[in-house]
Each structure stands twice: as C-alpha cells, then as structure tokens.
C-alpha cells in the first residue's frame, strides 16, 4: 500500500533539522545502547587489531602500537537504523587509512569484513572506510570509550548506519567479494546509507 494511512497526521514537521536523515529523530543527550550479545569485558592489555585478507602485509597492532600511529578525531553526527541520530559527537583514535597504508590492500581487496572480539561482524565496501571516512576510536568526548559503547576500541563509520561501526573491533579483513555480516545476513542492508534510508535488504 503506497497511499496515505487513514487518519494519520504525524507530528509537526515544520522545524526539521537539516542534519537529520529521513525517518530519524534527534536523540538529544541520550546515546542508546544496542547490541546483540552480552557486553564483553576486554582489557586494553589484551586488545589488538589485525588487518588481513587481501593485503600485501597482514599486520597486527597492540594497544600501545596502535597509539603510536598518528592520532585522528571525528566530530559530527551518528545515525542508528533504529531511528535515533545523535548530533555533535566527538571521537578520538586513529584513521582506518593509517592501518591500510601499512597493510596495503591488493587490487583484489575491494570489500572489508570488520570483526569484533565477540564474533560480531559487518561488511563494508573498501571505499567506505578509506579517504578519511572511518576511524578506529578509543575516546569519546575526550574520555575513554565506555565499554557499553564498544570500549575499549570500536570502529567508527559515521556516514553509514551505526551497526556498521562494529563495537569491540579486533579485525579488518580485506575481501575480493562482498559477504554479508551479522545483521546483513539477518535482513539488513549491505551498505546502510542513512540519507538513502538503506535500512533493510532491498531498500
């Protein structure tokens, strides 16, 4: 059914913030926690991140080694597929570019599977995590990233729905062919652009 729903007026839509993608609402100061698994306890001492798969130099960085890479910051908005958006966030860590510059994807490596310590994973086209569009972050608002928000370290791909920003990130695997990750196998979109409302497969 494409037509209007009988009797539905909707809330007033005069002052809609231009930062808000379609179908989203401003969560204000809230930052909802949404995870499919129990929150894991991961210490910085045992955390590491690996870039492998279709790369010239598969590499693993410990917490200390990752902190030796050039620092990078994201300031801006984030959007969750469950329809909340949060404006003006500030995350600190490193750019994914810094990792890929060292591991060097081969020409075949066109997609990325991001995998968490918990086993959660999510797939992304390589171009969505290169060119200053994605970060590996351990700070939020100048403080250590809270565990429920993916601490000690999460992926941050803020131009896509937030399920792509895998919490407790531990591995980026370059792939020649796209493969669906956890939510993508469960009906969610392979790319997840909030401005195109790519929520579910087929959107």
């Amino acid at each position: 059914m494409a037509g209007p729903t009988r009797g539905f007026l909707g809330r007033s839509r005069a002052p809609r913030d231009p930062r808000l993608p379609p179908g989203q609402y401003d969560a204000g100061a809230d930052w909802p926690v949404l995870t499919a698994e129990p929150t894991p306890r991961i210490s910085p001492e045992t955390w590491s991140i690996t870039v492998d798969g279709q790369v010239e130099k598969p590499t693993t960085w410990t917490w200390d080694e990752a902190h030796q890479l050039p620092g990078a910051e994201y300031r801006g908005d984030i959007h969750c597929v469950t329809t909340w958006s949060k404006f003006g966030t500030r995350f600190g860590g490193i750019s994914v570019d810094s990792l890929l510059d060292i591991a060097r994807p081969t020409p075949e490596g066109r997609f990325v599977m991001a995998t968490s310590k918990t086993g959660y994973n999510t797939n992304l086209p390589l171009e969505d995590v290169t060119g200053g569009k994605a970060w590996v972050v351990w700070e939020y608002d100048g403080k250590p990233l809270p565990i429920e928000h993916g601490g000690p370290v999460r992926l941050l791909v803020p131009h896509l729905y937030f399920w792509k920003s895998a919490k407790w990130i531990s591995k980026l695997t370059l792939m020649a062919r796209d493969q669906p990750g956890f939510w993508e196998q469960n009906g969610y979109h392979d790319r997840g652009d909030p401005w195109r409302q790519q929520r579910y497969q087929g959107d």
Binding site: T5, D30, A36, T82, Y161, N186
Partner: protein, 212 residues
C-alpha cells in the same frame, strides 16, 4: 495493546522476529517503527503488541486511531538472530514489553507440543504492566515484580538465584528487554557461567522497536 493483522501472502515468521509498521500522512510524510510479533507462526493472523509511548507518534496512532478494518503498510518478518527455532532447549528472559517476542515462542511451543523445551523468567515493575501476564503465568513462567510483591516473593529485581534453577547446559538463553534490563540479565547469565556465545540479546531502544 494487541494489534491483529491479516497479512496477505505473508511469509511465516520465526518466533522472535518483528514487523515494521509504516504510516503515511496525506502530504507524503512517513513514520515507521518496529513491533515484536506476539503470535505463533501457526496463527492465521499476525499479532503485534504496541506499547503506547508518551508522545509516541506511531504508537499513539496505532492505539488511539486505528480501527478494525483499517489498512496498514507493514513489512516483515525481520530479524533472524533473536529467534527460537522450535527445536533447541531455551531459557527465555524478558523484561517489561521485552516479553512480547517470548510470548510468540511460548505460543509456538504450545502449538508444536514443545513446552518442555522452554524455561521462562519475566520481570516487570508490576503485574499490571506485564504484557500477556496471565498467559505467561499459565505457561509456568517465573514472574518477578520490582515494585510490588508477587506471590510469596517481595518486590525485587531478577537475580542469579532465580535463573540458576531454570538453566541447563545445552540451552540457549534469549534475553529481551530495555537496555538496562538486558544488560543486567545477560551479565547475570555470564556470571552463572553461561557461555556468552549461548546468549542472544535483544535490547529495546527508546524508539520502542527491537534494536540493532
């Protein structure tokens, strides 16, 4: 409120999945929200449970305006993670409106004669605020109320002591509720020695929909 829908040519859901309801205003403005399915796959209708939220744009419409015979734009079933397949032994733990997908599992178990596969523990502030309370009690669920006594039990939160007698190795644990409830219940299970890989969690965000 239970909303029962006749969905043409529907694909049967797995207990635990949800539907998206999309409302469209005359000027093309749309709003959509997710709602858990409470009915079993064998039910000829799809039953969604809608909790009316303060200033809930969609829930307010569904509770206050919708009448029998109205046509709604729905999409589903969605979600393949927080589901019960009807075969594996499972411990179901739900808080507040998070019990709704568990009700679908309990009903499905009844339909297939698989009641023995499920153990159920639910928590709400009061019995009156527990959706499907009578049905859950009748199905043998452990009911915990945090703001009033229930039976011989004083008002108290769910504890590991409640869950331990319900847990058996080989079960999966399916936990659904608000973020604080789901977090605390899943940590109780981990503390009891349940492998994190055996725990599936569905957290309800403030959007009132199953969360991602």
């Amino acid at each position: 409120m239970e909303l029962r829908l006749d969905v043409a040519d529907r694909v049967d859901h797995l207990p635990g999945q949800h539907y998206v309801v999309r409302l469209t205003a005359e000027d093309g403005y749309t709003a959509q929200r997710s709602y858990s399915v409470a009915s079993a796959p064998g039910d000829p209708l799809v039953e969604l449970f809608v909790e009316r939220l303060d200033e809930g744009e969609v829930s307010g419409y569904l509770v206050d305006v919708v009448e029998p015979g109205d046509v709604l734009d729905v999409r589903g079933p969605i979600g393949g993670w927080f589901v019960w397949d009807g075969e594996e032994p499972a411990l179901l733990v739900g808080g507040g409106s998070g019990v709704v997908p568990l009700v679908a599992m309990v009903r499905h178990a009844r339909d297939i004669g698989g009641e023995d596969l499920l153990r159920v523990a639910v928590s709400a502030r009061t019995l009156a605020e527990l959706p499907y309370a009578d049905e859950l009690v009748a199905a043998g669920a452990l009911v915990v109320t945090t703001r009033e006594p229930h039976g011989i039990r004083p008002a108290a939160r769910l504890t590991a002591m409640d869950l331990l007698p319900l847990w058996e190795s080989g079960q999966v644990a399916l936990v659904c509720g608000s973020t604080p409830f789901a977090e605390s219940a899943s940590q109780l299970l981990v503390g009891m020695g349940v492998a994190p890989a055996a725990i599936r969690v569905e957290r309800f965000g403030p959007s009132g929909g199953p969360a991602v």
